[in-house]
């Protein structure tokens, strides 16, 4: 079981992902954008943060770069459906900034849950292998 901070601005995706993570016995806290996520991180210490990239108020890219400075041990998973750029463009950037792994939406939820398990058990290198 992991404590997960889920940052996603799309209500439907946030609700769906919350259920998917809870069904896999994870404890989920939600934030609707980067600003809310920063607030949450003042009070909580999650094991993993799953964050969208394109969001209002504070984007996932800004959030990741801030979090990596303030919470260096927090594992990050970036997710994106793309937009002005090819989604892989944002996701490559998120990994450069410190995300352990990234997924392009629509995501294979089984792969996402597997990545969470591997990160939780400190086997980050296995995700990309």
């Amino acid at each position: 079981m992991a404590k997960i901070l889920l940052v996603e601005d799309d209500d439907l995706v946030r609700d769906m992902l919350t259920q998917v993570l809870q069904r896999a016995s994870h404890q989920v806290t939600c934030a609707a954008n980067g600003e809310e996520a920063t607030q949450c991180l003042r009070n909580e210490e999650p094991d993993i943060m799953v964050t969208d990239i394109i969001m209002p108020k504070k984007s996932g890219i800004t959030l990741i770069s801030e979090v990596k400075n303030q919470h260096p041990n927090l594992e990050i998973i970036a997710i994106s459906g793309g937009g002005r750029l090819d989604p892989t463009g944002y996701l490559d950037l998120s990994e450069t900034l410190g995300a352990a792994v990234s997924f392009e939406k629509p995501i294979d939820n089984t792969a996402l849950l597997m990545a969470i398990d591997l990160l939780l058990h400190g086997k980050k290198e296995k995700i990309k292998g």
């Binding site: 799309d10 439907l12 998917v20 459906g81 793309g82 937009g83 939406k105 629509p106």
Partner: protein
């Protein structure tokens, strides 16, 4: 009155002089008339030339306006496609995610389980479509290398051959031509064009792929607005399929425009071809007539070291 011999001679001389003067005058008048006629002819020719020049200029202007409008339209649609892709991916993700969870909660052999599987499949089809839309709107910088067009075309033909109906004969007349381009993209151009030709023929007919060199002063280049005078490679893909009417020809390179049945074509194949050719500083034109087949002509700048 009887004239003396001298008087008679003088009279004859005067008559001759008058006649001479008359002849000279007549010759002058004839010369003037000839010059006038020549000048009229010249003026008429000049006018005709001027009219032709103006018609040509007007036609070129119209072609340029149409080409510009088409380019702007394609660009705008690309931007729009990129814009909706993000939201669409979120929607698809929610559909697939909820359907997967709901499927976990029902009996494996139930109709609900099966139907939810269909929802998930449809979601994945939507996902595939979005990734193709993104491929269209992306302006990523592909790496350009010298590529052998003959080999690239043969590779595309080898890939497609197993899927081409036996009744469709393909004739390929290659020449040795090198262009500077992206191998994958040019490969995709041939795959899309050949697939399109096959689809236009309902299982029977012929596809001719003809390559030629085009010199900088070739009259063909004069018909194409804004093209640079340089060596080009001309590739024609001709089919004997059902052809197209003018309204279809006018929209053939627009994204999402398709004449194929629902589910058979995304309407992106030819717009991707158009985008790729433009990225390679090339041109693509189409000629078609209902019942008489279609010819796509591509011009790509030839590469020389």
């Amino acid at each position: 009155m009887i004239l003396s011999n001298n008087g008679f001679v003088i009279l004859i001389a005067i008559i001759l002089l008058i006649m001479g003067a008359l002849v000279a005058a007549l010759i002058h008048v004839a010369q003037l008339a000839h010059r006038h006629a020549h000048s009229l002819k010249q003026t008429k020719e000049n006018l005709q030339n001027e009219i032709n020049d103006r018609i040509h200029a007007e036609e070129t202007k119209q072609k340029l306006e149409v080409a510009l409008l088409q380019g702007q339209k394609l660009q705008a649609m690309g931007t729009l496609a990129g814009g909706i892709a993000h939201d669409f991916n979120n929607i698809l993700y929610a559909i697939i995610g909820y359907a997967e969870m709901a499927r976990e909660d029902v009996e494996q052999d139930s109709l609900v389980h099966k139907n939810l599987g269909k929802v998930i499949d449809a979601g994945h089809r939507g996902q595939d479509l979005v990734s193709r839309i993104l491929a269209f709107s992306r302006r990523q910088h592909h790496q350009f290398d010298p590529i052998d067009l003959k080999n690239t075309t043969e590779a595309a033909l080898a890939l497609l051959r197993p899927t081409i109906p036996a009744g469709v004969i393909i004739q390929f007349k290659p020449v040795e031509i090198t262009i500077l381009g992206n191998q994958t993209q040019i490969h995709q151009v041939f795959v899309n064009l050949i697939n399109n030709a096959v689809d236009a023929m309902d299982g029977e007919g012929a596809i001719d792929i003809v390559m030629n060199h085009v010199a900088p002063k070739d009259p063909l280049l004069e018909q194409i607005p804004d093209i640079l005078p340089q060596n080009y490679c001309k590739i024609e893909v001709k089919d004997t399929g059902h052809g197209m009417d003018q309204p279809t020809i006018d929209r053939i390179f627009e994204p999402f425009f398709t004449t194929k049945e629902v589910g058979k074509g995304t309407g992106l194949g030819l717009s991707i071809v158009h985008t790729i050719i433009k990225e390679h500083q090339g041109e693509i034109t189409v000629k078609s007539q209902l019942g008489h087949g279609t010819t796509f002509m591509i011009l790509l700048p030839e590469y020389s070291v």
